[in-house]
């Protein structure tokens, strides 16, 4: 058997302290090669995984660790701490808010360490790639060794990825140069800057195709099925009509919820709650740039905001009561927290994403975006692919 002498000076080789000691012990160096094989065998068959699981792929990672696929039989045990792990499996979308944490956890893992990007979000950001809050692939800040494509990849695919990683570790141990850093040439091929699907420039042909498909689609005149909470359904509900009328609302438009003056909306909420609408369903704020209104394009409409409130009665025959308040830019609206405790987070979210200020809110901070973020992403004039430094 031809014994090849391996040196620890090779940058790509594995520097285990035991290995180094043995190699430097006089008279022992001859026996290192078989020992090295033994160490390689042990290393490749005990790749412990740190699950950087954020979303859907994390569920498949769990399924891979469970009974049917059973990663344990490959020596791959899932560890909850980075300090005991060899492989970080990034399973799921990494957002701008999460990325510094991922980097921190990666730095906490002891060498030697490897990284598997599991699923298309971790690989490239998937269809969230061009959005303001998502990192377009973890290889923008981590040295990824193996990419496991899929959305999400099957447990079997993850297993295949781990087997490929074992091969790679073996090659590295044998002193073969294996590229670990993202190769710019490779990236240019695998990640072309394609025209964006969602922001594609409109052409006349596209509009014509859209008209045609709309004409042949199943679309018909709007009518309100009984069990859907449309404004039209609300308009024919006598109980709701009476409640709203008591608060000065007489107009029930078909194209949106009844508009309530900002001064009266808190009183209306209290009254509805007393009348059995005890559950807060949701608060939806929307931004309307100048020239757009409820009925579509409308040149006379100035820029404004609408905040819709949805509350529900409980039990048999449950209904949703909806009302909306129209606000000019800069105007604030009274917080609903004194009436419904759940308005706390809902209003924080709408303040964060749409930028509607809620007066007298006990704790009006951003909910989704980082606290030092500026801008309100769900405004219509906010471009979806607004750069999220430093990731692009």
């Amino acid at each position: 058997m031809a014994v090849t002498r391996r040196t620890v000076d090779d940058g790509s080789a594995f520097e285990h302290p035991l290995y180094k000691t043995l190699l430097n012990t006089p008279g022992l160096s001859v026996s290192v090669a078989p020992l090295d094989d033994l160490l390689t065998w042990g290393l490749t068959n005990s790749l412990w995984v740190f699950p950087m699981a954020t979303s859907c792929c994390g569920i498949e990672l769990m399924a891979a660790a469970a009974g049917r696929v059973d990663l344990d039989r490959m020596g791959t045990i899932v560890r909850g701490t980075p300090r005991q792990a060899d492989v970080m499996v990034v399973a799921g979308t990494i957002t701008v808010k999460m990325a510094p944490r991922v980097k921190l956890l990666w730095d906490q893992m002891p060498e030697p360490k490897w990284c598997i990007a599991m699923g298309s979000c971790a690989i490239s950001g998937d269809f969230y790639r061009e959005l303001y809050s998502v990192v377009p692939g973890v290889d923008t800040f981590l040295p990824v060794d193996v990419y496991v494509p899929g959305c999400p990849p099957n447990p079997e695919a993850l297993m295949h990825g781990l087997l490929r990683l074992q091969e790679k570790v073996q090659l590295q141990r044998q002193g073969q140069k294996v590229v670990r850093d993202p190769n710019p040439a490779l990236l240019a091929i695998t990640k072309p800057s394609v025209p964006r699907l969602c922001d594609a420039d409109r052409t006349a042909e596209m509009d014509a195709a859209q008209e045609e498909s709309a004409a042949t689609s199943t679309a018909s005149e709007p009518r309100a099925p009984l069990h859907f909470d449309t404004p039209a359904a609300q308009a024919v509900d006598p109980d709701l009509q009476r409640l709203f009328a008591e608060n000065g609302v007489k107009d029930f438009p078909r194209e949106g919820p009844a508009l309530v003056p900002a001064a009266q909306h808190l009183a209306l909420a209290r009254k509805l709650k007393a009348q059995g609408f005890r559950q807060l369903v949701s608060i939806v704020a929307s931004h309307w740039p100048a020239g757009r209104g409820r009925k579509g394009a409308d040149a006379e409409e100035p820029e404004h905001f609408e905040v819709a409130y949805l509350v529900r009665s409980v039990g048999s025959g449950t209904r949703v009561a909806t009302w909306a308040v129209r606000l000019a830019p800069g105007e604030s609206i009274a917080s609903l927290v004194p009436v419904y405790a759940g308005a706390d987070w809902q209003e924080r979210e709408q303040y964060d994403l749409v930028g509607v200020p809620f007066a007298d809110h006990p704790d009006l901070r951003r909910l989704m975006m980082a606290e030092n973020y500026s801008g309100h992403p769900l405004r219509r004039d906010f471009a979806a692919d607004t750069a999220a430094a430093p990731w692009r």
Binding site: S55, S220, P222, H227, G256, S282, G342
Partner: protein, 393 residues
């Protein structure tokens, strides 16, 4: 600090400076990466000894800008995007969003499609609750024989349901099988028999789960009286689903505002009045049983006919929705998943808001955690069954 009683309300915005100045408080950062946070959720716990005094939750670590993306995509492109929101129950995500578009367009879904949707929804509920039970047992850790026993059992049974969905749609999850007006995939021949066989297996193992959890003394000790949520507060917070029903509120949209084919079957709503973690576990396990009963009752009676209002089963790449607004809420395994759509007459929504049950469930934490111990914090968080993909969107 006394353990909170059911009638006493906690101030979630307690100014921590006002707390006992003699106490030596410890600030514990929990998450966003922690095996027990069920994803990327973070909370700061202010501790007096081992007792939680105040909790400040942080969400948004998985904010994927889904609502912005939905404004950019056409209506037909949205379905596979919302699949990823609640990644433990993708079927119900698709149903919620497509039902909103159907309501705006006034499309009547064929009866066969409604039955198939109901069966999918109920099977998804079984799979989702099984996953919850498995991860909840993991949260309990060593107390339940390493915790992973229940986890492995639950995942074994969950695979049966995923296999059945794979038969129909070709995907383990993220199915993209619902369209506006009906379904994309009809059920294949022989599928009903497979469903019944799988349900028999799951039903035969339910007593096993009960013996490992609900009848396990350690499980009971760790969950009984822990994380009590008062029903009235739950309603105000918008908490829905099994958590609300465990707090004694008899409210289930499947029965109270029937959608799909729920008006043709009788849904027995499982409720408990204790409002603690044990009650939530009892409700979810009861719902698995009820879902099995529903699917068994429906699987042989699926009506013949078309599965999509558009004939042939084909959805245009783009279609316009007339200007209008609608809210549609359906009962998913986690509660009321709602979609509020503002259409402006074009092929894209002006604003699309998804009402996530998980976010509302998490908003209960500042109210129910104070007074509990650190080890209970993990159990209480697990009992809320949060899915961060849905909470953060």
């Amino acid at each position: 600090m006394q353990v909170q009683t059911i009638t006493r309300r906690v101030d979630p915005h307690l100014a921590i400076d006002l707390y006992d100045p003699e106490a030596e408080l410890l600030l514990l950062h929990f998450g966003p990466q922690h095996p027990s946070t069920h994803g990327v959720f973070r909370m700061d716990l202010y501790l007096d000894g081992e007792i939680v005094v105040k909790v400040v939750p942080y969400v948004g670590y998985l904010h994927r800008a889904v609502e912005k993306l939905c404004e950019k995509l056409t209506y037909a492109q949205i379905t596979p995007v919302v699949d990823k929101n609640d990644y433990v129950a993708p079927m119900t995500n698709e149903q919620a969003i497509n039902m909103a578009f159907e309501a705006l367009l006034g499309i009547e879904v064929p009866r066969r499609a409604r039955w198939i949707r109901t069966i999918f929804a109920e099977m998804q509920r079984i799979a989702s609750h099984l996953l919850w039970l498995g991860t909840f047992a993991l949260d309990m850790g060593g107390a339940l024989g390493g915790g992973s026993t229940v986890f492995l059992h639950c995942f074994r049974e969950r695979e049966l349901i995923l296999d059945l969905f794979e038969d129909v749609t070709g995907a383990r999850f993220h199915y993209n099988t619902h369209t506006v007006g009906g379904n994309r995939h009809d059920i294949p021949a022989g599928w009903s028999a497979k469903v019944k066989a799988a349900l028999d297996v799951i039903a035969s193992r339910l007593p096993e789960y009960a013996s490992m959890t609900l009848e396990n003394r350690i499980f009971i000790e760790r969950t009984r009286g822990v994380g009590i949520l008062d029903g009235e507060l739950a309603l105000e917070l918008g908490v829905t689903g099994p958590i609300l029903r465990a707090s004694g509120v008899d409210h289930d949209l499947r029965r109270d505002a029937p959608f799909h084919a729920y008006d043709e079957v009788k849904v027995n709503v499982v409720t408990r009045s204790a409002g603690d973690c044990l009650a939530r576990a009892q409700v979810r396990l009861g719902e698995i049983e009820e879902s099995i009963r529903l699917v068994r009752a429906m699987i042989d009676g699926i009506p013949e006919g078309i599965i999509n209002a558009g004939r042939p089963i084909k959805q245009p790449a783009q279609f316009k929705i007339p200007a209008g607004q609608v809210y549609v809420g359906i009962e998913t395994p986690r509660g009321e998943l709602g979609t509020y759509v503002i259409a402006d007459g074009t092929a894209n929504a002006h604003r699309l808001k998804i009402r996530p049950p998980s976010l509302h469930a998490l908003s209960a934490l500042p109210h129910i955690l104070p007074g509990a111990t650190v080890s209970d914090a993990v159990v209480i968080l697990g009992s809320l069954d949060p899915i961060m993909g849905e909470a953060d969107r």
